[in-house]
C-alpha cells in the first residue's frame, strides 16, 4: 500500500471552499436552531393546546427519526412543491432537526428558572410577558448554554450528511475530487483531520463560553 | 499474627501528611494500648480526620510510620498487587465508621453486615447470617435485618455501619465524626452503642466534636490544632484544667455553645 497525498494538495483550494461552505451552513443552522428553538419552546409552554400540541408533535417527530430521512423528505417533498436550491433545503432540514433538540433544552431550562423566579418577579409588579422577557428567558438561556453548545458541536459534524442531497460542503466536494483522482483514503483521512480540528476549536470555544456564562447564572 | 500484650495496638511515629502546600499533619506520635479508648478533639481543619483516615490508609502519609499491632500499615517496599494484598489484610483488622455512614444502598442491612465475612473470610451463608443477626441485635436493629438503608433513620444507619465494621472482628475501631451528620435527637442511640463497645474493652479511636461524650467515654484525650497534638491527657484533666491557651480557647468556645 502506498499513499499519495499530492492529489489532496492539488485539490486543496476546493477543500478550503468546502470548509467555507460547511462553516457557513453551520452558522446559519446555529442561528436558526437557537433562535427558533427558543421561540418554539416559549410557544409550546405558554400557548393553548391547539397551538402547543402540534408544535410538540413536530419536536417529537424530529427527535425520533433520523436526520437523513428528514432530509430526503424535505428535499423531495419541498422540491416537488416549489423550486428551491438544495442548500436551502439542507439548512432548513438541519435547522429544524436541531431546533427540535434545542427547544427541548429550552423547555427544561425555562421550567427550572420559572419555578422560583416567576413569583418573585410577579411580586415586584412585572406582568407575565415582561417577566418572561426580562427575567425568565435570559436566565434560561444562560442555563441552556452548556447543552446548546454541545448540540452545536454535534450539529457541525452532521453537516457532512448534507452531501447526500448534493450540497457542496466538504465531503461533497471531496467526493468529486475522489471520482477524478481515485484516492478515497487520502481524501477521507484529510476530511477527518479537518473535522477534528474544527471540533477542537469548537470545544475550546465551548469552555470559553461556559467560563463566561458561569458568572451570569 | 500473635503478638505480646505489651505491643501497642496502634502506634504512630512522626506521621506527616500534606495536601499540596498545606501541611495537614506535622509529625504526629501516638501510642494506643489494647483496650484503650482515645478521643481526638480539635477545630475543623486541625487534621484529626486526616489522622484517622491515614491509619486506615484512606490517606497515604508522606512520612513517618503507622503500626497496627506491630504490623506496619505503610509498606513503601511493596508495589502493585503485593501492596494491595497487604493493605486489604491490614484493613480487615480495623473497623472504620464514617461521618456519612456510607452504607451500601443496594443491599439489605443484614447483607451490609455480612458482605465482608462472606466474601473475605469465605464464611458460610448460614454462619454469616447468624453472626449478622447477632451484631444487629447488639446495635438494637435485629428487626431491621431485611430493611434497606434508604428506609432507616440516620441513627439507625450509623448503628448498622458500626455492626458492619464489627463483623470482621477488628482489633481496633476508628470512628470519624460518627455523630456529626445526625440530628441531635439521634446522637444518643449511636453514643449508647459506642459506650457498649467501650465496656467490652474494644480498642477505639474516636474523632468527635462532642466534648461531653469524649469526656465520658474515653480514657485519654488528644487536642489537635493545625496538624500538631497541642496536648494530650486524661479527659478529666484536659477538660477541667488544660495546660495550653489554645486548648482553653477551643474548650471555652465549644463547651460554651453546647451549654
Amino acid at each position: 500500500m502506498e499513499f499519495d497525498f499530492s492529489p489532496v494538495i492539488e485539490y486543496f483550494p476546493t477543500l478550503v471552499q468546502g470548509v467555507g461552505v460547511t462553516l457557513l451552513i453551520g452558522l446559519a443552522v446555529a442561528v436558526m436552531s437557537i433562535v427558533g428553538g427558543q421561540i418554539v419552546a416559549v410557544i409550546s409552554l405558554y400557548t393553548r393546546r391547539v397551538v402547543s400540541w402540534p408544535l410538540r408533535f413536530f419536536i417529537w417527530l424530529f427527535m425520533t427519526t433520523p436526520l437523513l430521512l428528514q432530509l430526503y423528505f424535505l428535499y423531495f417533498g419541498l422540491g416537488e412543491l416549489i423550486l428551491i436550491p438544495a442548500i436551502v433545503v439542507g439548512i432548513l432540514g438541519l435547522g429544524f432537526h436541531y431546533m427540535a433538540y434545542n427547544a427541548d433544552i429550552f423547555v427544561a431550562t425555562i421550567r427550572s428558572v420559572s419555578d422560583g423566579q416567576y413569583e418573585a418577579s410577579r411580586s415586584l409588579g412585572f406582568g407575565h410577558i415582561r417577566t418572561l422577557i426580562y427575567i425568565i428567558l435570559p436566565q434560561a438561556f444562560y442555563r441552556a448554554l452548556p447543552q446548546l453548545s454541545n448540540n452545536m458541536i454535534i450539529m457541525v459534524k452532521d453537516i457532512s450528511v448534507l452531501s447526500a442531497i448534493g450540497i457542496g460542503e466538504l465531503v461533497y466536494v471531496s467526493q468529486y475530487a475522489i471520482s477524478v483522482t481515485f484516492r478515497p483514503f487520502e481524501f477521507y483521512i484529510t476530511i477527518a483531520v479537518i473535522y477534528y480540528l474544527i471540533n477542537l476549536m469548537m470545544e475550546a470555544g465551548q469552555s470559553w463560553i461556559e467560563r463566561r456564562a458561569a458568572y451570569r447564572r | 499474627m500473635t503478638t505480646s500484650t505489651d505491643t501497642p495496638m496502634v502506634e504512630l511515629k512522626g506521621v506527616k501528611k500534606h495536601f499540596g502546600d498545606l501541611e495537614v499533619l506535622k509529625g504526629i506520635d501516638l501510642r494506643v494500648d489494647r483496650g484503650r479508648i482515645i478521643s481526638i478533639i480539635g477545630p475543623s481543619g486541625s487534621g484529626k480526620s486526616t489522622l484517622l483516615r491515614s491509619i486506615n490508609h484512606l490517606e497515604v502519609i508522606d512520612g513517618g510510620n503507622i503500626l497496627l499491632d506491630g504490623m506496619p500499615v505503610n509498606r513503601p517496599d511493596l508495589k502493585g498487587l503485593a501492596f494491595e494484598r497487604h493493605i486489604n489484610h491490614i484493613r480487615q483488622n480495623m473497623g472504620m465508621v464514617f461521618q456519612h455512614f456510607n452504607l451500601f444502598p443496594h443491599m439489605s442491612t443484614l447483607d451490609n453486615v455480612t458482605l465482608a465475612p462472606r466474601r473475605l473470610k469465605g464464611m458460610q451463608s448460614t454462619d454469616a447470617r447468624e453472626l449478622g443477626m447477632e451484631l444487629l441485635e447488639r446495635v438494637g436493629l435485629a428487626d431491621k435485618a431485611k430493611a434497606y438503608p434508604s428506609s432507616l433513620s440516620g441513627g439507625q444507619k450509623q448503628r448498622v455501619a458500626i455492626a458492619r465494621a464489627l463483623a470482621m472482628q477488628p482489633k481496633v475501631m476508628l470512628f470519624d465524626e460518627a455523630t456529626s451528620a445526625l440530628d441531635p435527637e439521634l446522637v444518643e442511640e449511636v453514643n449508647r452503642v459506642m459506650k457498649g463497645l467501650a465496656e467490652e474493652h474494644m480498642t477505639m479511636l474516636i474523632v468527635t466534636h462532642e466534648m461531653a461524650f469524649a469526656r465520658d467515654v474515653s480514657d485519654w484525650t488528644m487536642f489537635m490544632d493545625e496538624g500538631v497534638v497541642v496536648e494530650a491527657n486524661t479527659p478529666d484533666r484536659l477538660f477541667s484544667d488544660p495546660d495550653h491557651e489554645r486548648t482553653c480557647h477551643f474548650l471555652r468556645k465549644h463547651l460554651g455553645s453546647q451549654g
Binding site: 500500500m1 425520533t64 427519526t65 433520523p66 437523513l68 430521512l69 430526503y72 423528505f73 423531495f76 417533498g77 416537488e80 459534524k157 452532521d158 457532512s160 450528511v161 465531503v171 475522489i178 484516492r183 478515497p184 483514503f185 487520502e186 481524501f187 477521507y188 483521512i189 476530511i191 477527518a192 473535522y195 477534528y196 471540533n199 477542537l200 | 486506615n56 484512606l58 502493585g80 494491595e84 494484598r85 486489604n88 489484610h89 491490614i90 484493613r91 480487615q92 480495623m94 473497623g95 472504620m96 464514617f98 456519612h100 456510607n102 452504607l103 451500601f104 443496594h106 458482605l115 465482608a116 466474601r119 473475605l120 434497606y148 434508604s150 428506609s151 455501619a161 458492619r164 465494621a165 470482621m168
Partner: protein
C-alpha cells in the same frame, strides 16, 4: 394521502426496518465489548494504555460518524481492509458507539459517591471486588439509561449506511420516494417504523433500569 400505496409498500419497509434493527443490534453488542475494553485501558496503572484510549475516544468523538463510515468503506481497500457494506456498517457503528459508551460507563462509575468505595476498601475489599460488589451495582442504573440514549442514536445513525447501499429503512424509503413520487406517504410510514423501533429500545431500557435499581423501591 394514498392509502393503497401505503399498504402496498408496508411489507418492503418492514423488511428494511428489520435490517435497521439487525445492524444496530449487532453494532451495540460489539460496541459494549469495545467500550468495556476502553474503560479498562483508561483505568490502567500504566500511562500509555490510558493515552491510547483517550486519543481513540477523542478522535472518534471529534469526527463525524458519516466520514468514519466513508473512510472505512471507500478508503479501507487502500490499506487492505475490504468489508461488505453490511459488515462495514456494523463495524464502524460498533467502534463509533463504543467510544461514546465507554464515556457513559466511566461517568456512571464516577457518579457513585466516593464514600462507597472508601467504606468497601476500609472493610478490606480490593479494587476489583469493590468495583464488582459495590460500585457497579450502584452505577448500573445510570449506565443503562445513558447506554439507552446512545442505542437510540445508534439506530438513527444506522440510516447513514444507506449511502454505502445497505438496504435498510432509509435506503428503502429514499428508493420508494424516487419511484412513487409520494414523499409524504413514504416518510410517514418509515418514520413510524423508526418510532416503533426507538420506543421498543426505550421500553427495554426502562425494564432493565427498573431491574437494576430495584433496591431503591424497597
Amino acid at each position: 394521502m394514498d392509502f393503497n400505496l401505503m399498504i402496498d409498500i408496508t411489507p418492503l419497509l418492514i423488511k428494511a426496518a428489520w435490517v435497521t434493527v439487525d445492524i444496530s443490534a449487532r453494532a451495540l453488542f460489539l460496541g459494549l465489548f469495545i467500550a468495556a475494553a476502553l474503560v479498562a485501558l483508561r483505568t490502567s496503572r500504566l500511562a500509555p494504555p490510558r493515552w491510547l484510549a483517550r486519543a481513540y475516544i477523542s478522535v472518534i468523538r471529534g469526527t463525524p460518524y458519516f466520514v468514519q463510515l466513508l473512510l472505512v468503506f471507500y478508503g479501507g481497500p487502500a490499506i487492505g481492509l475490504r468489508l461488505d457494506p453490511f459488515t462495514c456498517g456494523v463495524m464502524v457503528g460498533a467502534f463509533n458507539i463504543g467510544a461514546y459508551i465507554s464515556e457513559a460507563m466511566r461517568g456512571a462509575i464516577e457518579s457513585v459517591d466516593s464514600g462507597q468505595s472508601e467504606a468497601s476498601r476500609s472493610l478490606g475489599f480490593g479494587r476489583l471486588a469493590t468495583l464488582q460488589h459495590i460500585i457497579l451495582p450502584q452505577a448500573a442504573g445510570l449506565m443503562i439509561r445513558s447506554i439507552g440514549v446512545l442505542a437510540i442514536i445508534l439506530v438513527k445513525n444506522s440510516s447513514l449506511v444507506s449511502i454505502i447501499s445497505v438496504v435498510e429503512l432509509t435506503y428503502q424509503a429514499q428508493r420508494l420516494i424516487g419511484s412513487t413520487y409520494k414523499p409524504l406517504e413514504v416518510f410517514m410510514l418509515s418514520a413510524l417504523m423508526y418510532i416503533v423501533i426507538i420506543y421498543a429500545v426505550m421500553g427495554m431500557i426502562e425494564f432493565l433500569y427498573r431491574r437494576a435499581t430495584r433496591y431503591t423501591y424497597r
